[in-house]
């Protein structure tokens, strides 16, 4: 039988496609053999955090745990998560006094008297915005929002220009002086992908912080979000912030 040009092309293409498919299948098998236990698929998750302001006691456990888990730089004292103390004096309710000594890492010493206005603690961290300004300004594609809703930084690609530090409306980014790259909360992505909760959530003694997977229909967060008075920080900026606060005072910025 004489091989026509058409036959040759058809057989050649089939062979090419088949080898590629087999190769990729083999690659999957080989890669999967190592961590076959719980394959993490980004399409199955959409991460958010719930913070119950009424439960926060300002002990600073979250701040310390975050520093330890993520090796957050101490000099200068930067934070991926920190706790702010708000004090609203009834004589001047429009101007709340905010302090956060060392990010609340050692808790808060007594500063106000009982009945002297309203005092409360607000934990802060990256809001892992769905439409984040920080990822939009990056000139080199070094920061991005993953399919599972976590804003991450590519340390190999970051050129340290600090645009993202300025763009974040929540002040959640800083430049790590050791690597000269931007740094921020990863929502403990290395723990989430291993089926663990973030370090701050793990150690919070009052359950003021909860991690939520909004793509999991059985996550109790859905009911919590429906039945509580939930707010996000700076909603007017339309960042799609995903740190949901319960019991947040309108004075918090």
């Amino acid at each position: 039988m004489e091989t026509t040009r058409r036959d040759f092309l058809m057989v050649g293409t089939k062979l090419l496609v088949m080898t590629a498919a087999t190769a990729s299948a083999l690659e999957r098998v080989l890669a999967g053999a190592a961590d076959a236990a719980a394959p993490y698929n980004t399409a199955d998750h959409w991460w958010a955090m719930l913070i119950d302001v009424e439960k926060c006691i300002g002990g600073g456990h979250c701040v310390r745990a975050c520093k330890t888990e993520n090796d957050v730089v101490d000099e200068p004292m930067y934070f991926r998560t920190w706790v702010e103390r708000y004090h609203i004096d009834m004589s001047d309710p429009d101007h709340p006094v905010v302090d956060s000594p060392d990010g609340g890492i050692n808790g808060f010493s007594e500063k106000y008297a009982e009945g002297d206005g309203k005092t409360f603690f607000v934990p802060k961290l990256c809001n892992h915005c769905a439409d984040s300004p920080c990822t939009q300004v990056c000139p080199v594609g070094a920061t991005f929002r993953t399919n599972d809703g976590v804003v991450l930084i590519d340390k190999d690609y970051c050129v340290g220009c600090r645009y993202c530090v300025q763009a974040c409306p929540y002040g959640c980014r800083y430049l790590d002086p050791r690597s000269h790259t931007a740094d921020k909360c990863t929502l403990c992505y290395h723990r989430l992908t291993r089926g663990m909760v973030p370090a701050c959530v793990e150690v919070c003694p009052t359950g003021a912080r909860q991690i939520a997977d909004l793509k999991n229909p059985n996550d109790p967060a859905h009911e919590y979000l429906r039945t509580h008075k939930i707010q996000v920080l700076k909603p007017q900026m339309a960042t799609g912030a995903k740190v949901y606060y319960n019991g947040l005072d309108g004075a918090v910025r």
Partner: protein, 155 residues
């Protein structure tokens, strides 16, 4: 050069230069941009795995329970049952992986007061004391065992 191309000769040279520049750019770009850049968006897909590969430091409650079920049971009837072991004992994945690694001893007084020292900012439902009035700043442990701090518990 003679003939009809005489007047555009400089343009031909220019476009050759331009084409060479384009080629150089294409080759350089293919060389420097990683294959996985743009797989999910304007970023390097491999960066996600880089972040996820970071080692953990906190073991998590489940790992502690594997060996220390007694202590977990001790806390079970008390309000401290919701608190993770590592909230007070510190990050202990190294210890969980190798029990030989010593667990640093923390000062109980400091640990208790982190949550239970009176402070105006704390929510009213949080049990707090002024250490000076409550125990004259003596240790909490003789009366309150940390895992189950109810008063009737044996220290």
């Amino acid at each position: 050069m003679q003939g009809p191309l005489k007047d555009v000769e400089h343009l031909i040279r220019l476009s050759a230069l331009f084409a060479a520049g384009l080629l150089l750019f294409a080759v350089a770009r293919a060389q420097f941009v990683p294959d996985d850049f743009g797989q999910y968006g304007h970023y390097r897909a491999g960066a996600i795995a880089d972040v996820a590969a970071k080692p953990m430091v906190y073991a998590g409650r489940a790992r502690c329970t594997e060996c220390h079920e007694d202590e977990v049971n001790e806390a079970a009837p008390s309000r401290h049952k919701v608190i993770a072991c590592e909230t007070c004992h510190g990050a202990l994945l190294k210890h969980a992986d190798d029990p030989e690694v010593a667990v640093p001893k923390a000062d109980a007084q400091t640990l208790c007061l982190r949550c239970h020292a009176a402070n105006t900012g704390k929510p009213s439902h949080q049990p707090t004391v002024v250490a000076k009035d409550h125990s004259d700043e003596d240790s909490c442990v003789p009366c309150h065992q940390a895992h189950d701090p109810r008063m009737d518990q044996e220290p």
